[in-house]
């Protein structure tokens, strides 16, 4: 998930013609003060933490200073904050605008209809999840003709706009559609979209680029600093890395099998922690890589559940044993392995010879993993 920071999203908005407030990014209190003093950002202004998680307003991460000194102070305060583990490294300074009303518009995917959907609400400014369903309008957009005039008119009517404002909103909606398609977005959200005089201005910007389309957008390659080191390694190796609350590491191939594995572990009282999904593959190299990656996550025990399609189980087992040899003894952890498919018996034999608990039956294997984790401090 390539999630752009607000200021990056606004840069995209600007390039597509969506009006945004005049603003500058600062990475230190001194820089922020200078921007205010030099008039790059008119006072009074808004200072906002640039973090990817929501809920900034409540967390004191949005301030409204009136003087350069206040700008410095506000920036200093905000740069010290942390949101859901994410440190604030940048603030966005923006002009303060005379807001008449706050609206909500976004473009995203409607999975069940297999079509893009334009979501709009006259109740902007709060998270859309909190807006009552009756106040939200959803219009699917056919990708072939694209966003039509009548769909835009429907939004303007819902918002109760003047003709000039409707024109301005129409331009924003056209831009949303273009960004959604041309930037391969999962979500383009403007919340709030503020009415300011005869037009509208995007006060916030949320742009999420689809991971699978990132190869078409090298310009966003840098936009991933909320990933941990392990997540980054996993991404490079095309292994899905998910952090849960528990202490049992899970390695499996395929999202469905991975989730079923978690379900079974929980059934037997286990608490899954980091899990690694190799995708559909049973490539022994990838299994070994996942194992080494898992070793760095310091699990109490690891449950490996691979259903073999192409590779033989003994080949996978050999690779795994080899990888185990690369983990320092002090960092070793109990491993329960379940490798199903061709040459299953040989695979189990190799694993058991190397001291691994190898079990074919999913129930038994899961119980063994839960037991192993329980025995660890």
């Amino acid at each position: 998930m390539v999630k752009l920071a607000e200021w990056q999203g606004k840069k995209v908005f600007r390039s597509y013609g969506i009006p945004v407030p005049r603003g500058e990014v600062a990475r230190s209190p001194a820089e922020a003060e200078r921007l205010a003093r030099e008039g790059k950002v008119p006072l009074p202004c808004v200072v906002k933490a640039q973090v990817l998680s929501g809920g900034r307003g409540k967390g004191g991460a949005v301030r409204f200073p009136n003087t350069p000194d206040e700008v410095r102070e506000a920036t200093a305060d905000i740069l010290g904050l942390e949101f859901k583990g994410e440190k604030v490294r940048e603030v966005l300074l923006e002009e303060k605008l005379p807001i008449v009303r706050e609206l909500y518009v976004s473009m995203t995917l409607d999975r069940s209809q297999r079509l893009p959907v334009l979501i709009s609400s006259a109740q902007g400014g709060m998270e859309i999840e909190s807006v009552p369903d009756g106040s939200i309008d959803r219009q699917v957009v056919d990708p072939f003709p694209g966003l039509t005039g009548y769909e835009k008119r429907s939004v303007s009517k819902q918002f109760g706009l003047t003709p000039l404002q409707a024109r301005s909103v129409g331009g924003v909606l056209d831009a949303l559609w273009k960004i959604f398609v041309q930037e391969d977005a999962e979500l383009v959200e403007v919340n709030p979209l503020a009415i300011v005089g005869d037009g509208v201005v995007a006060l916030d910007a949320k742009v999420i680029i689809e991971d699978d389309a990132a190869f078409r957008h090298p310009e966003f390659a840098e936009v991933r600093d909320d990933r941990t080191e392990l997540e980054e390694i996993a991404r490079e190796k095309e292994i899905a890395f998910v952090q849960l609350d528990g202490n049992i590491g899970v390695i499996a191939n395929g999202a469905g099998l991975t989730m079923a594995t978690l379900d079974v572990l929980k059934e037997f009282g286990g608490a899954p922690g980091v899990f690694l999904d190799l995708g559909g593959t049973d490539d022994p190299k990838k299994v070994s890589e996942a194992f080494l990656l898992m070793a760095r996550a310091e699990p109490a025990a690891v449950f490996l559940n691979i259903f073999g399609g192409i590779t033989r189980c003994d080949t996978v087992a050999k690779g795994l044993v080899e990888a185990m040899g690369q983990v320092p003894t002090s960092e070793r952890f109990p491993l329960v392995a379940r490798i199903r498919g061709n040459n299953e018996a040989e695979g189990i034999q190799i694993l058991r010879a190397a001291g691994v608990t190898a079990i074919s039956d999913l129930r038994e294997a899961a119980q063994a993993a839960v037991e192993a984790a329980r025995r660890r401090p």
Partner: protein, 293 residues
């Protein structure tokens, strides 16, 4: 009879000269599938595992009568591969390729549909009908001819479950792995009518996941229009909301797509819902038995 593939299925493999393409060409042939052509632009004239390779799908179709495509082309070229097959008159495209941008699916899915071509996938294991044909990558060993149909959004979990059906002594009519991406060419609701009208299917196993509402939609269909016994399983009961569980499809957002909702909908529609994958085979046996009474 069977669903989507049969003895008249003539497969062309797009991306046959790549590693995956070649490996699975061998597997499909070993299954007994008529793999009649391969396509890799620029490699026309060569032969892979006895299969002639062409530069374009149009050539392949003209020369070999291929009517079904199995696509291993890397993600950036997958859309073009599907469009080429659609325009060449191929009726069924199984897209094995992972990581196809959903924006590409937003183009190729309606385009294919408008031309009468069905897409399975992307990011899917494909179709297997024991004794007839296999298009995709489901391991041959899990199959055994029989009368249980399987449709699934998962990959390896499907193998596990199909294998379980075999191990309990039953067999499969047709198994379809639909793929787990946010936008897929064929959903449960698209696939169910084909099993309903397939005389070779007695019972249907439906393997779902958290995320989206495909299982709820399927339950609605099952309740009103599906007359055969349905055994269902939903993976991801223990997954927390807001986390992507491995791929883009499996995510619980805005309170939608929970396992509870799916299980409840399926049970209300009369399906037997297994709590764990290893419970499925026994439920199938029971379902078939009680249906025969």
């Amino acid at each position: 009879m069977s669903v989507l593939v049969d003895r008249d299925t003539r497969v062309l493999v797009q991306g046959i000269t790549g590693h995956q393409g070649t490996v699975h060409t061998i597997q499909m042939k070993q299954f007994g599938t008529a793999v009649v052509a391969g396509v890799t632009p620029g490699k026309g004239g060569s032969v892979v595992e006895g299969v002639p390779v062409f530069d374009s799908v149009r050539d392949a179709v003209a020369k070999t009568g291929a009517n079904t495509s199995c696509i291993f082309v890397p993600a950036p070229g997958a859309k073009d591969a599907v469009l080429e097959s659609v325009d060449a008159g191929v009726r069924l495209c199984v897209v094995v390729t992972e990581h196809v941008p959903f924006h590409d699916m937003l183009v190729m899915y309606p385009y294919a549909r408008s031309k009468g071509t069905r897409i399975i996938g992307p990011n899917c294991p494909g179709i297997g009908a024991p004794g007839k044909a296999k298009v995709g990558i489901i391991p041959n060993v899990v199959f055994r001819p029989g009368r249980v149909g399987v449709i699934s959004r998962s990959g390896t979990l499907t193998y596990e479950i199909v294998n379980g059906i075999k191990e309990i002594g039953l067999g499969q009519s047709t198994c379809i792995g639909l793929g787990g991406d946010p936008v897929i060419g064929t959903t449960f609701v698209d696939a169910l009518p084909m099993f309903e009208s397939d005389p070779d299917t007695d019972a249907l196993v439906l393997v779902g996941e958290i995320g989206g509402t495909a299982e709820e939609d399927a339950a609605e269909y099952v309740r009103h229009q599906f007359t055969k016994p349905v055994i269902a399983y939903i993976a991801g009961r223990s997954a927390p909301p807001g986390k992507r569980m491995g791929h883009a499809g499996a995510i619980i957002t805005r309170g939608k797509g929970t396992a509870e909702s799916k299980v409840a909908a399926l049970e209300a529609a009369g399906a037997r819902v297994a709590r764990f994958p290893y419970d499925i085979p026994q439920l199938v046996v029971e379902a078939v038995r009680s249906a025969r009474r």
